[in-house]
């Protein structure tokens, strides 16, 4: 008896809640969804869209009802398997996890032999974001410095190669390290004035710097060609061999194989794969060195760092510089892959996407960042057809994943050194995120 009463009460409460949600949805949807403005002669005209409105309100009503009555019922233990999975990722050197890294890397190397053009193309894009994510991870994940202007260094790298490549004919392989160093220098130049800032203030100033650089690129016609961008950026060569159908020193002639446009694509894939692995190797090494430990210590407690004699100014600058360096490498690669760049590719949204990958992946975790890049960028590609809904869903996904897993997908932290034999990761709840 009481059971049915309780059930009834719950149903009534759920109905009421759903009705309230629907009412709110009606207010929200009223003008923006229910009315569509259209350009007309002498200004604007509009028409009513009752269907959209009705669907939105009904959707919210039944969605809320569903959530309340079915989804949120009882215990939500479905993610148990997931937790097991991610915790094993956190302690990647244990058990089967030990083999995961090499298997994935070997798999990546074999990918071009089996995958279609589209898959390789998408993989290149994903790897670029993995590289950028790992680079930004140094700044945000390890050093705990919230950088919303990372795209600036990506832009510096891209324009460095675009300008040096088109004007002076320097090869990609020469410019690549130069671009990295140039971006690192910019990282320090921009990093220096903001060293004293903390948290959100740092975020907003780095955002401002990113925008300033973009606006300069947009308006400095003489050098950057403004919004028209730079085209005809030379492609990289394979030890001097070009990936062209005709001409001297071409790849297919040298190896005596028929020409295929796939060669260049596959070559690009290997370049970005190696660059990403380089980033992974260097940042992993650095994490186990004093400088990396100092980054993480700074994230945990900056004042304690200073009390231990650590020069936090230099430590922050190295983090900015290393992060920017990899951003520069990514930028150069982007320029050579596209063959064309314009300031439009370096908007704040790019910074937001890279930061989202780092935070959603789990700050400090390389595997998490890689997974987040695959999910976000891969998911992005899935919605390629519905281009205008793409960013809409992207924004929504950011909110949903964050609310679901505020610590990111892989939240544990692997210690850098052990006294004993057992290797266990530190729970994400104990790890701080940094003040600046």
């Amino acid at each position: 008896m009481t059971g049915t009463n309780a059930k009834k009460g719950r149903f009534a409460a759920a109905l009421k809640e759903a009705a309230m949600a629907a009412l709110l949805a009606a207010v929200l949807a009223s003008f923006l969804l229910g009315v569509r403005t259209i350009p007309a002669e002498g200004g604007l005209s509009f028409y009513y869209r009752p269907m959209w409105f009705a669907v939105a309100v009904a959707g919210v009503f039944f969605g809320r009802l569903f959530l309340r009555l079915i989804w949120w019922r009882g215990d939500r233990t479905t993610p148990k398997l997931y937790d097991k999975f991610t915790s094993s990722l956190g302690g990647i050197t244990e058990g089967w996890g030990k083999y995961l890294g090499p298997v994935v890397i070997i798999g990546a190397f074999l990918l071009p032999f089996v995958a279609s053009r589209y898959v390789i193309d998408t993989s290149i894009l994903i790897l670029t974001y993995i590289l950028l994510g790992w680079g930004l991870n140094v700044v945000v994940g390890l050093a705990g410095l919230l950088d919303l202007g990372y795209v600036a260094f990506y832009a510096v790298g891209a324009y460095a190669y675009a300008l040096l490549g088109t004007h002076f004919g320097l090869s990609f392989w020469v410019v690549l390290p130069l671009a990295g160093i140039l971006a690192a220098t910019w990282g320090m130049i921009l990093g220096f004035p903001v060293l004293r800032l903390r948290g959100d203030y740092l975020a907003i100033v780095t955002l401002a710097f990113g925008e300033i650089i973009r606006i300069i690129l947009l308006n400095w016609y003489k050098v950057t060609n403004g919004p028209d961008g730079i085209s005809g950026i030379p492609r990289p060569t394979f030890f001097g061999l070009q990936f062209k159908r005709f001409g001297e020193h071409t790849f297919h002639q040298f190896f005596g194989i028929p020409y295929s446009p796939m060669h260049r694509l596959i070559f690009m894939f290997y370049i970005i794969l190696l660059l990403a692995l380089l980033t992974s190797y260097v940042t992993n090494r650095l994490r186990r060195l004093p400088v990396g430990r100092a980054w993480e210590a700074m994230r945990e407690d900056e004042i304690a760092c200073r009390a231990l004699g650590i020069n936090t100014t230099n430590t922050k600058l190295t983090a900015f510089a290393i992060g920017a360096f990899f951003g520069g490498l990514g930028g150069s690669f982007f320029a050579t892959r596209q063959g064309f760049i314009s300031p439009e590719s370096f908007t704040f949204i790019e910074s937001a996407i890279i930061l989202a990958i780092v935070v959603l992946g789990g700050m400090g975790s390389q595997i998490g960042v890689a997974i987040a890049a695959i999910v976000m960028i891969g998911g992005f590609e899935v919605f390629r057809e519905a281009a205008q809904y793409r960013m809409l869903i992207f924004g929504l996904l950011m909110v949903v994943i964050m609310v679901w897993k505020p610590r990111g997908l892989v939240s544990g932290r692997m210690p850098t050194i052990f006294l004993g034999k057992e290797r266990k990761s530190v729970s994400g709840d104990l790890v701080k995120e940094g003040e600046g």
Partner: protein, 273 residues
């Protein structure tokens, strides 16, 4: 042997209109435990923050003298230089450990500067030259030494934030010791400890003084700690020094009793006698 390691001369610290420290002078002697005591709000932690460079004193001179005779004027140095070059290590009243890092990592971060040199500023170590591994092993040995002394060796691979409160206090001392300081400044090391832990702490501090030959400056409220181990006590109230001497002298000083009990000096004199 009682040469002076830290000399504080006429130090004044003002925050806007508030005078937190007023013309304070005292000295801490080498290989001794000097305690700085006083009622709440007397300005003890402010003195510490001036010595370790987190605040710049408005006036005054702070002279640190190493065993080899080298002197440092602390009021002119940045906080991290005081720790690195003048070799003054400190702990904090509200513990500041690197909570998400393991106990061992905490102790290695404390050895950042020598390790940084050993890693050839990271470049050498990435390229695998310069024998960084050897230096790191030595650093781990030093860490192990202090983990043994503080009884934390079993927890070396646990995150610092997971340790119970008393262990965290000891870990902070171990971390400070790993910077190989000449002067150790402890800000209320016994706060929140139970009698047993407090007793262990006394032994630890005495062994740091006697076996490692270190000088210690500590702020403490727990009188059993202060009276039990201090060689020399400085009492301040409202930013001014009101007494200075050995524990026996302090115990019977009417001014001190007055400050602590909130009575005037005549009454305190009666109480003391």
């Amino acid at each position: 042997m009682s040469d002076i390691i830290l000399q504080v001369d006429h130090m004044t610290m003002r925050f806007g209109g508030l005078v937190a420290i007023d013309d304070l002078s005292f000295a801490a002697r080498r290989k001794e435990i000097t305690a700085l005591i006083g009622p709440n709000g007397a300005g003890k932690t402010t003195v510490f923050n001036c010595i370790t460079g987190f605040y710049k004193p408005t006036e005054g001179m702070l002279t640190m003298t190493h065993a080899d005779g080298e002197t440092f004027l602390l009021e002119r140095m940045d906080d991290f230089r005081i720790a690195r070059d003048a070799k003054v290590a400190r702990t904090f009243q509200n513990i500041r450990l690197f909570g998400g890092m393991t106990v061992l990592e905490n102790l290695l971060v404390a050895q950042h500067n020598p390790l940084m040199l050993a890693s050839k500023y990271s470049i050498g170590a990435i390229l695998g030259i310069g024998g960084y591994r050897r230096h790191e092993n030595k650093a781990v040995e030093l860490a192990r030494h202090w983990l043994d002394k503080t009884g934390l060796i079993a927890r070396a691979d646990d995150p610092a934030a997971d340790l119970p409160y008393g262990d965290q206090r000891r870990l902070e001392i171990a971390r400070a010791m790993c910077t190989r300081p000449e002067l150790l400044c402890l800000d209320e090391p016994a706060a929140g400890l139970n009698p047993k832990e407090s007793d262990d702490l006394n032994k630890l501090l005495m062994s740091i003084r006697d076996e490692e030959g270190l000088s210690i400056l500590l702020i403490e409220h727990d009188m059993s700690v202060v009276m039990g181990i201090s060689d020399h006590i400085v009492v301040i109230d409202y930013g001014k020094k009101i007494s200075d001497g050995d524990p026996a002298f302090i115990r019977s000083d009417p001014k001190v009793i007055a400050a602590y009990l909130g009575v005037d000096e005549d009454e305190a004199g009666e109480l003391a006698s």
